[in-house]
Structure formats: structure tokens, C-alpha cells
């Protein structure tokens, strides 16, 4: 599950790999794995398993006012 969407991710893939595949600049996002925030330096070493709940957050246009 990535951002609430089912996504096919090769078991054991790293966050870095996933971001690359999704063509997302890692310097513009925050990542939360199963409700735990993953620091950027751990993207290379953190691997994903089936059932993981991943959130990839960034800045978008918006605000209340």
C-alpha cells in the first residue's frame, strides 16, 4: 500500500528503489512506513515487505486562505 493505493513492489525493494521507479525526487518528500517516519539517510537500507503501509508526502499547492 503506497499513499492508500495498492502497488506492486518487488519484495525486499528499498525505498530509494521505489522512489526511483516512481520517478520521485527524494529531496522533496518525507516518507512514513507503517506510521514510522523514515529518515532520508535510511532510504537505501530500508526494504519493503508485502502489507507495508507507506506514505510519501510532499508539498503541493494549497492552504485554507
Amino acid at each position: 500500500m503506497v499513499n492508500g493505493k495498492k502497488l506492486e513492489v518487488p519484495d525486499g525493494a528499498t525505498i530509494t528503489a521505489l522512489l526511483e521507479e516512481l520517478n520521485i525526487n527524494p529531496l522533496r518528500v518525507a516518507v512514513q512506513l507503517n506510521l514510522e517516519i523514515i529518515k532520508r539517510e535510511r532510504y537505501d537500507t530500508t526494504t519493503l515487505r508485502t502489507g507495508d503501509k507507506l506514505e510519501i508526502i510532499t508539498f503541493m499547492a494549497g492552504g485554507s486562505e
Binding site: 518525507a30 516518507v31 506514505e55
Partner: protein, 258 residues
């Protein structure tokens, strides 16, 4: 004059007293040009999940991080908990430790929930954030937010997106009398004079989005707002004349032609 007269909080210093937004623009390009025209140095952005099946380009391609300070906001949060979580994730993006703290209490009017806002402010200040809370024009709450460590207080001038301007200058005045941190009017500005009036009251800055983004010509309105904020600030510093029911002529009466 604007040189030396800067907006300062949390050790930062800004030449412009105008803070602008990123929502509701026709497109990223017009937003970018409006930002330039506005002269703003701080831009507020929403914190959201990356859109995976996105065709659209990233907002950040249109905001030069060297030129603008990013101010993530917690728009859409209805509890302290949501707002705190959003702020923490925003900081993890690594581009800003500031947060425009919004905890909405009413979906219809987008008025803040001050109780939750105060809670979130206390937590985030402890976490080392530079917290800019969006609140209403309640002098008591403004003081509590300041005491909780807010870097500035941001009372609304009028409901978000209403374009009604500063509905209650009296409350803003009362807030200013007691405030020891910058007071930045957030929300309600619909046209240039609204921003000028806010600054003439003695406010330290103005944050606006809808007034610019939804104007027929956002870039022209952004430029208008740049002038409006400068005009209001200068007028405040210059010291306006007193109001009277009427006054007398400036023309010397001696020397009238016979």
C-alpha cells in the same frame, strides 16, 4: 526605507511584509509570476501525499527555494493531533522548520478551533518548530498563543476567502497593543485597500492567497498587493493626520486679491 524596516521573527528577517499562497491559481505559471510581482519572500504550501498517477509537474518546480522561504501549512486538519502529525511530516521534507498552523473548527466557514490550536502550538513549539498559528481576532487567545511560544500570531481579518477585509479593526488594535511578537493578518483580504488598512493599524505583515489567486488578473493584483502593503506600512510609520469633522484651508488668507 523598506530596506531597514524589516519583518523579524524567530531570528529570521524579511524585507517584504507580504506572505502569499499557492492555492487556487489558474496554473503554476501564473502563480509563479504572481509571486514575483508580489515581492513576497515567504510562500505557504500544503502538505499532501505525492500523487502517484500524476501527469502534472511538481509545485516546487515553480518556487525557487533560494528566493522564497517555504511555509508549510496544516490546512485541512481538524484536530491538534492531525495538525501536529502534518507539521512533523512537513519538516521531514527537509525544506522548512516553520509551520503555518491551521486547525479548522468549522468546515463551512473555516474558522479556527482555538482550543486545539493552542494544544498543537504548545507541542510543536516544544518540538522546536517556528509556529505561526492562524487564529481569530480574539485578544485573549492571541496572548495565550504568544505565551505558548508562537513566533507570531495570525488573526483573521475576515473569514477565509470572503474578501471582506478587516471586519473588526478594533480587535486587531487591541491585539497589537499587547502583542510582543509580530501580528500578521491572515485571511479576509479581498483587495489592495484591505491590506493597506491592516498595515496602517500597525500589523507587522499580511498573509493572503484567495485575493490574489482568484482575482481576474492575479499578477496585476499581486503587484497591487505589493504596493498596498508598502503604502500601509509607510503610512503607519509616517503618522497620519487626525480625523476631524472638517478643517480649515491651507491657503494663506492674507494676500487675497482685491
Amino acid at each position: 526605507m523598506e530596506k531597514s524596516d524589516t519583518l523579524r521573527f524567530a531570528g529570521r528577517e524579511f524585507r517584504s511584509r507580504l506572505i502569499v499562497g499557492t492555492g487556487k491559481y489558474p496554473d503554476h505559471r501564473s502563480m509563479q509570476r504572481a509571486h514575483e510581482a508580489s515581492g513576497a519572500e515567504i510562500v505557504t504550501v500544503a502538505v499532501r501525499r505525492v500523487n502517484l498517477d500524476r501527469t502534472q509537474e511538481s509545485l516546487l518546480d515553480y518556487i525557487d527555494a533560494k528566493k522564497y522561504t517555504l511555509l508549510p501549512n496544516t490546512a485541512g486538519c481538524y484536530t491538534a493531533e492531525e495538525a501536529i502529525k502534518t507539521a512533523i511530516l512537513a519538516r521531514e521534507v527537509g525544506l522548512s522548520d516553520m509551520v503555518k498552523l491551521e486547525v479548522i473548527g468549522d468546515q463551512r466557514t473555516l474558522f479556527p478551533d482555538n482550543e486545539e490550536l493552542l494544544k498543537a502550538t504548545k507541542v510543536l513549539v516544544k518540538e522546536g518548530f517556528v509556529v505561526l498559528p492562524y487564529t481569530n481576532d480574539d485578544p485573549v487567545m492571541a496572548k495565550k498563543l504568544e505565551d505558548a511560544g508562537a513566533a507570531a500570531v495570525m488573526p483573521l481579518g475576515a473569514p477565509i476567502g470572503s474578501g471582506l477585509g478587516i471586519r473588526n479593526p478594533y480587535n486587531i488594535k487591541i491585539i497589537l497593543e499587547a502583542a510582543r511578537v509580530p501580528v500578521i493578518v491572515d485571511a479576509g483580504v479581498g483587495t489592495a485597500s484591505d491590506a493597506t488598512i491592516a498595515m496602517e493599524l500597525g500589523c507587522d505583515g499580511v498573509l493572503m492567497n484567495t485575493g490574489i489567486a482568484c482575482a481576474k488578473d492575479p499578477v496585476a493584483m499581486a503587484e497591487a498587493m505589493r504596493h498596498a502593503v508598502i503604502a500601509g506600512r509607510l503610512a503607519y510609520l509616517a503618522g497620519r493626520i487626525a480625523k476631524k469633522l472638517y478643517a480649515t484651508a491651507s491657503s494663506p488668507l492674507e494676500g487675497m486679491i482685491e
